[in-house]
């Protein structure tokens, strides 16, 4: 068992180190430990990749297996292949050098590259040690403990304990809070979580002699906070009322108002959907819509808004069905089923079976779930372990497959998620209608028989008028009955479907796959977690009344247990990153040796402990950070602060806030909001904005389905009237083969790679979109409407109103001059060239109106609109 308690005790840690030392001492004369574990590890991987297809497993070609120390030492049918210390004499080297007529050249198809060859030679010359240590005589049969406590732990055998000092694997301990120093209250313990945050940060600043910037002004603060929490700009009224609010708790009330807004969940969901590479479509050749997966997106938003505890949030996604059973008892249960959509978010190639690649693809999908869970929940780069033991973190390849075994039985399906009462209601509603439908169909069949029974008149003889009339009457009857069936069918209620995951009855065995290839299965593994924490099989049992194995539930429980220090650190860091532009760990998806080290490890741990103890509340965590002095600091240094810059150019110690650019979604949403176009609708199936025909027709995935549907629209892209798509961007369809052209250049993630932190780049296509895209023109028109409604044709007042509505501040005198000048000049231009063709009626209106639209378009393009201080 993992020993959270022992582990937490520093003394037991010490003891473990001593024991390890003692253990190494009396090792046999020739320990099977590589002199250079890195070299041995690379050799193991190399042999697996280049030779493993034939030379591994129980029945290798030529009797030679190259997949374990013992097998390599044994050699093959031709005898030993290695002479440790003498590469030239080794059969293996002669084969891979391919210059020896007496030995078959290996590998037969593709020779090793020169550097690979050199590596093998170097390895043999240095003694041909194998990476895995085989210890003997130490096992007394007792359960093997964690790597820190037990030298028999496989990670200790593999790397001799050299890698287990990874900071993020250390137990979570609440660090001592520094006393507040500086100007306010020297030596007093901080009161409340925000003050603790500041105490940690300020202690470090004081150590470095850095003076933090003063708080941002209120106008800046309300804009920053509103964007950070909701992803939307504050309205001018919200700005003004906060600026004018002089009550002591004005900031607390602002924070509470923002966290209570449903826009909070919508904005936080984007962070999570990035991490789990959410999309509405399959990807690959056909890129079909997953018609119900939006329910998962909505479930995330609702969970965040309801402040569902994060441990529950994760557990439902991994094992909602095991938690609540297959038939939901209430809406919470339904939600838990919807949440399992998490397990089927990855790209899926529906055409794989056509080319008999289904087995390969299934292996890829399973591996992909493990990697995504690794990066999203644990902040670990696990995809390396699909092919080999990790090259820098204490993770074994078998760990990857032990975790994969938890997902081995997953079975994706589209399933009704209605409560039993609703299901009964639907049935009660439908039953009589279905009876009527059956009756109408029977009547129609009868009528058809009557029609057939009409005798056909002989050739050349006109049908009697009476017969013609009768026939017509029956035909009318049939049409009426068909219409009736259609009418009745339309009144049927259907079940609410969701894309969920359950488990197959017989879960196939999980094998470690050499080099991650489904064609090279090796030893069977059973469900488990990282051996470094606990090498024992993961205890699991079917949930009461359920028919699943309980594997995923057990995994989820471990992920949020005290034994696992990663989960809470990772989510606290994600939230920190949202509110400061950079995490305490700058690589939110990699808490391994290759990732960044935390800038404030004690603070991260303190917050992670606090987060757990306060019931995993994300709103609480946001609130604490938002109320810290650090969050509220100015981001703009003055010349007086020049002394601080060289000391901490990257602002790692947070002597100021980080300014930032809005995300793709926030830019679009802001344009819609400022243009007065943003619809209040929330949730529901994805919206499909119109996209140029030439873009749709260039995408074969859409051509495939371009055969028109009943409504006459192409099936691959279900474009709606553009106004209907003016909802928040989180509700816009994420089609993997066709990211929305307006959003994509603003560093939208690709929906294939889990994304923990978006790039922020500045490229010309962004400027082209902001200058010329139809969306921006419509927003400019909408903003002009708002100005005109307020001011009519008071042209002189327009510039100030545009700036106030778009930027939430008063216009500066020189800005007013430039803007008024533009209006004047553009009125003259438009008067001289009226009535040009335009998309829609966007160039309609008087010359003055058109000049106003130009002004709005100019202001919607300014950096201040896109960036937050």
């Amino acid at each position: 068992m993992m020993t959270g308690a022992r582990h937490r005790n520093p003394r037991s840690r010490l003891l473990a180190v001593v024991l390890i030392g003692a253990l190494w001492g009396p090792f046999p004369a020739k320990p099977a430990l590589a002199a250079d574990p890195a070299l041995a590890g690379r050799i193991e991987a190399l042999l697996a990749v280049r030779c493993g297809e034939c030379h591994a497993g129980d029945d290798p070609q030529g009797g030679l297996a190259l997949d374990s120390a013992a097998a390599v030492a044994r050699g093959g049918e031709s005898g030993p292949v290695l002479v440790p210390g003498d590469a030239d004499a080794s059969l293996l080297v002669r084969a891979i050098r391919r210059q020896d007529g007496g030995v078959s050249p290996m590998p037969p198809d593709e020779p090793l590259a020169a550097d690979e060859l050199a590596l093998v030679e170097q390895w043999i010359a240095s003694g041909a040690d194998w990476p895995t240590v085989v210890t003997e005589g130490e096992d007394d049969g007792s359960p093997v403990g964690s790597a820190w406590d037990d030298s028999r732990n496989p990670v200790m055998r593999r790397w001799r304990g050299e890698w287990i000092d990874l900071w993020s694997f250390q137990p979570l301990e609440r660090s001592a809070v520094p006393s507040t120093r500086g100007n306010e209250g020297r030596g007093t313990p901080p009161d409340g979580v925000p003050a603790v945050i500041d105490a940690f940060l300020e202690a470090r600043l004081a150590d470095r002699g850095l003076r933090p910037l003063p708080p941002a002004d209120r106008r800046t603060l309300v804009r920053r906070m509103t964007f950070d929490v909701t992803g939307l700009p504050p309205s001018p009224d919200e700005v003004e009322s906060f600026v004018a609010d002089e009550t002591p708790d004005a900031i607390e009330r602002l924070v509470d108002r923002l966290l209570a807004s449903p826009a909070y969940g919508e904005h936080l969901a984007v962070t999570w959907l990035d991490a789990v590479r959410y999309a509405d479509t399959n990807g690959f050749e056909r890129d079909e819509l997953r018609p119900q997966i939006w329910r998962y997106r909505d479930w995330c938003i609702e969970a965040f808004n309801a402040d569902m505890p994060y441990d529950r949030f994760l557990t439902e996604q991994l094992a909602g069905d095991e938690l609540v059973g297959e038939v939901p008892a209430d809406d919470v249960d339904s939600g838990a089923l919807v949440a399992t959509g998490y397990l089927r978010l990855g790209p899926f190639d529906s055409t794989a079976p056509i080319f008999q690649e289904a087995e390969r693809h299934r292996a890829e999908l399973l591996a992909e779930i493990v990697s995504t869970t690794g990066s999203a929940v644990l902040g670990l780069a696990m995809s390396c372990c699909n092919c080999h033991d990790h090259k820098s973190d204490p993770l074994l390849q078998s760990d990857f497959f032990r975790i994969q075994a938890c997902f081995q039985g997953t079975d994706a399906r589209e399933m009704p998620i209605d409560l039993p009462a609703v299901t009964a209601e639907i049935a009660a509603h439908n039953e009589p209608i279905q009876g009527e439908i059956a009756a109408a169909r029977a009547a129609r069949e009868m009528a058809e028989k009557r029609l057939e029974a009409f005798p056909s008149p002989p050739d050349g003889v006109a049908e009697a008028a009476e017969a013609v009339g009768q026939r017509a009457q029956v035909q009318a009857e049939i049409s009426a009955l068909e219409e009736r069936v259609a009418e009745l069918t339309a009144t049927l209620r259907s079940a609410t479907l969701a894309e969920v995951v359950s488990e197959v009855a017989e879960i196939p065995a999980t094998h470690l796959l050499a080099q991650g290839s489904h064609r090279n299965p090796r030893e069977e593994v059973v469900p488990g977690v990282f051996a470094v924490f606990d090498p024992a099989p993961l205890a699991h049992s079917p949930p009461p009344g359920g028919r699943t194995s309980g594997r995923r539930l057990a995994l989820a429980r471990w992920l949020v247990s005290d034994a696992n220090p990663l989960t809470s650190r990772v989510i606290v860091n994600r939230v920190w990153q949202r509110l400061f532009g950079r995490g305490i760990v700058a690589t939110p998806n990699d808490f391994g040796f290759r990732g960044a080290r935390p800038t404030h490890p004690e603070l991260l741990d303190w917050l992670a402990c606090e987060f757990r103890e306060r019931g995993w509340s994300l709103k609480d965590l946001h609130r604490s950070i938002l109320l810290s002095a650090a969050y509220r600091r100015s981001s703009v240094p003055t010349p007086d602060d020049d002394d601080a810059r060289p000391l901490d150019r990257d602002n790692e110690l947070l002597w100021r806030q980080h300014p930032r650019r809005l995300s793709a979604e926030a830019i679009r949403d802001s344009l819609l909001a400022v243009g007065g176009l943003l619809r209040a609708e929330r949730g529901g199936p994805p919206r499909w904005p119109p996209v140029a025909e030439e873009i749709l027709h260039a995408n074969p995935a859409i051509l495939e389905f371009l055969k028109e549907g009943a409504d006459g629209r192409p099936q691959g892209w279900n474009a709606q009237p553009v106004e209907e798509t003016f909802v928040r961007s989180v509700y816009i369809v994420r089609k993997r083969s066709l990211p929305l052209p307006f959003l994509q250049p603003f560093d939208l993630p690709d929906g294939v790679n889990p994304c923990g932190r978006r790039d922020v780049t500045t490229v010309a296509s962004q400027s082209l979109n902001l200058l010329n895209d139809d969306l921006v023109l419509r927003a400019a028109e909408g903003l002009a409407d708002r100005v005109e409604r307020a001011l009519g044709d008071d042209v002189d007042a327009w510039p100030a109103a545009v700036v106030r509505l778009a930027l939430g501040r008063a216009i500066e005198p020189e800005e007013l001059e430039a803007a008024a000048d533009l209006v004047d000049r553009h009125i003259a231009i438009h008067q001289s060239s009226p009535g040009q063709a335009s998309p829609g009626d966007q160039r309609g209106g008087t010359a003055a109106r058109r000049a106003l639209v130009d002004l709005c378009r100019a202001i919607l393009n300014v950096t201040e609109f896109l960036h937050v201080d």
Partner: protein, 496 residues
């Protein structure tokens, strides 16, 4: 805490560049005082770092950078033959197929059926003979079928690799692999890697341009930057040369475009003035000017009026009803783009969603596609050559896989990733050379087998880039185009 024995092997250069990217563009801190506008006029190349990762100036991500060592190629044109052209119908002559036409697959080949996966099961046990005449061309005596007679005239410029193989017999994964190295997609494309490594030579055009009527299956993942910065994604131009995505001012706005932008920029300068040392604000101002200049420059690229009648006839673009019109126009545009310093141009041949994909009546598909593409392909090689551009322009021709020698359906051929042909020309490639071979019926590469990642390593090498050193740190490892396994190497004999 003990030092980790395998501490991150990122070179200092990578760390510095990552740091700078984080600091400058994401967080808006840094001390860049120089005006970006002034800088973008300069033509200096910054070298790649020792570790191979590019040091990127976030204000000028497409600024030219010099490679690891000298390479002859400066630009790349990929002529992507979507759908999978049949090697045994074009560049890989198999006399045995004539002898065994309509007969069962030889036992010697059946014996390896487990190595050719599912494709063989979908075929009849019957060999389909290419109905074309074959001739030898050039001093090298390259055999080419009469479906590619004009391209074949350039035999002494082509380096034909007949022993390609890849990992999926399905379009989307195979197309992903040819473009990104990975059958799952989600990795940066070849063009993204090249522009990341080398930048571009023209500041007023994207560094990596896609041309197609119908793009490859799998969509935008085929020209994606994935985890590389967005500046390195492929930008699609229409096959008539206009860039998509809002290149032109909307109707009615053109007369006021400059003066509107001037007001925006006045506000922007004021905003920057209060926030000195925020390079992303400087960068925004600069990219607005770049966008404005692109409107003019990119519009000019598509205007073929300044091409001579002879050149237009050479590519077959004069008559819009000629089968060569669409592909010819793309080939001509490709030349015009590389002439202007664009680093990578990739075009797709397909005018429908089938391309070369003849599961039935394969000969008809090959008849049609070769009629559309042979003349323009030959024209491109001739035109690049006479303008002195071929030496520094690498041209690569190939599909996502080849096709089976066995018959499928009614005169069709199935997909075949186990053995197929690509060719390279220009950019330092040894012309008049053939590399590798398939078995006697052209099903499986047997001699000097070359994987897609070897092709990628070769293409990078032509530019002086070492595929093992052109890296980008992502998700805990140094990612590279050829994958992290280390099994790739440039194809021997291709480069001089």
């Amino acid at each position: 805490m003990a030092r980790h024995p395998h501490a991150p092997r990122l070179s200092p250069v990578v760390l510095a560049s990552r740091r700078e990217i984080l600091a400058r563009s994401a967080l808006g801190i840094g001390g860049i005082a120089a005006s970006l506008l002034a800088r973008s006029e300069s033509r200096g190349s910054e070298p790649l770092g020792d570790g191979g990762a590019a040091t990127i100036d976030p204000l000028r991500p497409l600024g030219p950078r010099s490679p690891h060592r000298m390479g002859k190629a400066k630009s790349l044109i990929v002529l992507f033959q979507y759908g999978g052209p049949s090697q045994v119908d074009l560049f890989d002559r198999k006399p045995l197929l004539e002898t065994l036409a309509g007969q069962p697959v030889p036992d010697s080949i059946k014996g390896i059926s487990d190595q050719v996966g599912g494709v063989i099961n979908h075929c009849k046990d019957s060999l389909l003979c290419p109905p074309w005449a074959w001739r030898q061309y050039g001093e090298c005596g390259l055999w080419v079928s009469d479906r590619m007679p004009l391209t074949a005239e350039h035999a002494d410029r082509l380096c034909v690799v007949r022993s390609m193989h890849s990992d999926s017999s399905n379009h989307a994964p195979a197309t992903y692999q040819m473009n990104t190295g990975s059958i799952l997609g989600g990795k940066p494309s070849l063009g993204s890697w090249l522009t990341y490594g080398l930048g571009s030579e023209n500041d007023n055009l994207p560094g990596y341009v896609m041309l197609f009527e119908v793009g490859g299956l799998g969509g935008s993942a085929n020209w994606s930057n994935a985890f590389l910065p967005a500046a390195y994604q492929g930008t699609r131009f229409r096959h008539d040369g206009r860039a998509l995505a809002n290149l032109e001012p909307p109707p009615g706005f053109a007369p006021v475009q400059r003066s509107t932008l001037d007001l925006t920029q006045a506000f922007n300068r004021g905003h920057l003035g209060g926030r000195p040392g925020q390079p992303d604000l400087e960068g925004r101002i600069a990219t607005y000017e770049l966008a404005y200049r692109m409107q003019a420059e990119a519009a000019g690229v598509g205007d073929l009026a300044d091409e001579s009648a002879e050149t237009r006839a050479l590519y077959g673009v004069d008559d819009p009803h000629r089968p060569t019109a669409s592909y010819g126009r793309m080939c001509l545009l490709a030349r015009r783009l590389v002439e202007r310093g664009v680093r990578v141009v990739q075009l797709y041949n397909a005018v429908d969603k089938y391309g070369w994909d003849g599961h039935d009546k394969s000969h008809d598909f090959h008849e049609r596609n070769s009629r559309q593409t042979d003349r323009p392909t030959a024209a491109l090689l001739a035109d690049l050559s006479r303008r002195g551009l071929l030496d520094e322009t690498l041209v690569v021709w190939g599909g996502e896989f080849g096709r089976t020698p066995m018959e499928q359906g009614d005169g069709g051929r199935n997909h075949n990733p186990y053995g197929f042909t690509i060719w390279l020309a220009g950019g330092g490639v040894n012309g008049g050379r053939s590399i590798g071979a398939t078995d006697e019926i052209g099903l499986r590469a047997v001699e000097d087998r070359q994987h897609v990642r070897d092709l990628h390593a070769t293409i990078l090498a032509a530019f002086g880039l070492d595929h093992e050193r052109l890296v980008f740190p992502h998700d805990g490892r140094d990612e590279r185009l050829t994958g992290v396994l280390g099994a790739a190497r440039p194809i021997g004999g291709v480069l001089g």
